[in-house]
Symmetry: C2
Subunit: 347 residues, 2 copies
């Protein structure tokens, strides 16, 4: 109906396009494109000419155009609860390091432990036709799971194993086992009464699993085992608060061993103990989780359980790269990175 024959004015995005480079180098645009994607497929002479033209014109390719034409982009969506959390920061750093080698970029999203936000972030990530998706955890809202299942890209769920079946691939460890290992360790060190400290009681599912594992193992060993938790994030401050609460509740009780949902809580406990002049590990043994960087240099040095956040990131990257190489024929791997018990002075 609307039959306009008038040429519109072009809206130009870029200063220098591939066409400009091609003209400069005296070749066709296809050749420039080919050189950029597979330099070895182009003759040395032409390759050099193109390279020179690119440099002279300061050409920066447009990845949106490339991604659109190629039906896939070079972004990997990474969705974690928060990068302020040192655990995830480490994994994100490893991912970027490894994926960067393959010229893949990271598009980051933080859920802040909100399932609605998570769904939105997944949807947004998918809007970029990402090469792959990395998401923390295996328990997601129904909408998120649906989106992820329908997505025709590799999906790697990280930092957690067990629970719901992985959607595609998974790299992580069993938090329940972490808790159990902590309880058993304290028992082995002669503690007969166990307490678990945790924060963010409502939304950190992984912390909840560590707690569950700790409590179950403690009871299995026939020990009185209890849980002190709080809805606030698991910080040093909260560690102090929980330790104080514990002191009040367990006044006079001997042989207490404390498992902490993370090293920050443990650190806070250590400080509170100092303030109260309670000896650690003599009166109370403490074990954390995370092996955060201060754990080794605390006084007393903190016993803890070490996850391998860096390894999780690099293994996830490896799986992604492999999936991309294998195409449809890829397998649905699940990798257990395990954890290590680091026995220091607090237990």
């Amino acid at each position: 109906m609307a039959g306009s024959a008038v040429p519109r004015k072009r809206r130009k995005i870029q200063g220098v396009t591939m066409v400009d480079v091609a003209r400069r180098a005296g070749v066709s645009p296809s050749t420039v494109s080919l050189f950029l994607r597979r330099p070895e497929a182009v003759s040395l002479k032409v390759g050099d000419a193109v390279q020179a033209a690119i440099r002279e014109l300061n050409y920066v390719p447009n990845l949106m155009a490339g991604g659109l034409a190629a039906a896939s982009s070079s972004v990997v969506g990474v969705i974690v609860p928060s990068v302020r959390n040192a655990f995830f920061a480490e994994t994100v750093a490893a991912l970027q390091r490894e994926l960067g080698q393959a010229r893949l970029q990271i598009m980051l999203g933080h859920t802040e432990y909100d399932q609605g936000v998570e769904t939105e972030l997944v949807r947004t990530a998918l809007s970029w036709a990402p090469a792959a998706l990395v998401i923390a955890g295996t328990e997601h809202g129904k909408a998120t799971r649906q989106l992820l299942e329908a997505a025709r890209v590799p999906v790697v769920q990280v930092w957690e194993l067990g629970g719901e079946a992985p959607i595609d691939m998974a790299v992580g460890f069993h938090h329940y086992e972490v808790g159990a290992a902590a309880a058993r360790h304290l028992a082995a060190r002669g503690r007969r009464r166990l307490v678990f400290f945790s924060g963010r009681a409502n939304d950190d599912k992984r912390a909840a699993q560590r707690a569950a594992g700790f409590l179950a193992a403690g009871r299995e060993l026939g020990l009185v085992t209890q849980h002190l938790s709080h809805p606030a994030p698991a910080t040093t401050e909260l560690g102090g608060i929980l330790f104080a609460r514990m002191l009040k509740e367990l006044e006079g009780v001997e042989g207490v061993g404390i498992g902490c949902s993370n090293d920050l809580l443990a650190l806070g406990s250590l400080f509170e103990a100092q303030r109260r002049q309670v000896a650690i590990p003599q009166q109370y043994a403490v074990i954390g989780f995370g092996d955060l960087e201060f754990a080794a240099s605390c006084n007393p040095a903190l016993s803890t359980i070490k996850p391998f956040g860096d390894l999780i990131g690099s293994e996830a990257a490896r799986l992604i790269l492999k999936s991309l190489a294998d195409g449809e024929a890829r397998e649905h791997a699940s990798i257990d990175t395990g954890f290590g018990l680091v026995h220091r002075q607090t237990s």
Copy 2:
């Protein structure tokens, strides 16, 4: 020359496109697009129909196509040394929180304090025709600076003020002043001999500036002031090492005040002091930088200088949003977020 009249087979990226939605809703694709971008420009009846079609088909728009057509994308490139660094993690989190409201996504890159990597990351970010760029620091390599200057997008340099002139906009504070404030504080608390601890001596320019400010202010006050530094990253462990070194070098010296390049070093110092049974603040006063989450709950509680990392992120986001709204007419703002001296027990 190559005149092929044969229709090629289409390579389909997406299951459901905007055309499908339009058909389902009984409107034209343009209307769907319009509804997505400016829902208020579409009649209520049509809007509902489109909305319903989107939901029923589970349509996910392709942002690459959108960005390409619109000559700008909804990504903001964020380039920081490392998210493992709590300072940057906080700013990144704030950025994502604020920018997310405007449906902007963050594309993250870590330089790991390498200038070559930084240039590559800037180049990659520019390949996405980003809506804006956020980069840590004001001192960049020549290539990076050139790229940023030529980029026709808002650029916000964060976490640092002073030094080289900002390329476009800047949000941060003067690290030199932080160091000076720390020195003056220690002097005011009666310390007559000052020492500054820092790590990553070679590549953390901002830490170097804090050191310079500390040393200059100390000397200006007529105090003997010295610098203990180390090439390793500024960790708790390094804090302990530097404190031990200081003890050896300054044996018997009274009234020593220690400034630390960050709270991790300060924490390590505290622990080392405990181990050596040296009283803080009686024998040695300590002040850190960062007000990391443990600072308030240490024993003794750590005096420190608080940057406002979160504020830096949200102000940067505000500037970006304003720039995008104002278009070409935008101003080249520079915002000093300042810092706060938090006096606790270690000084």
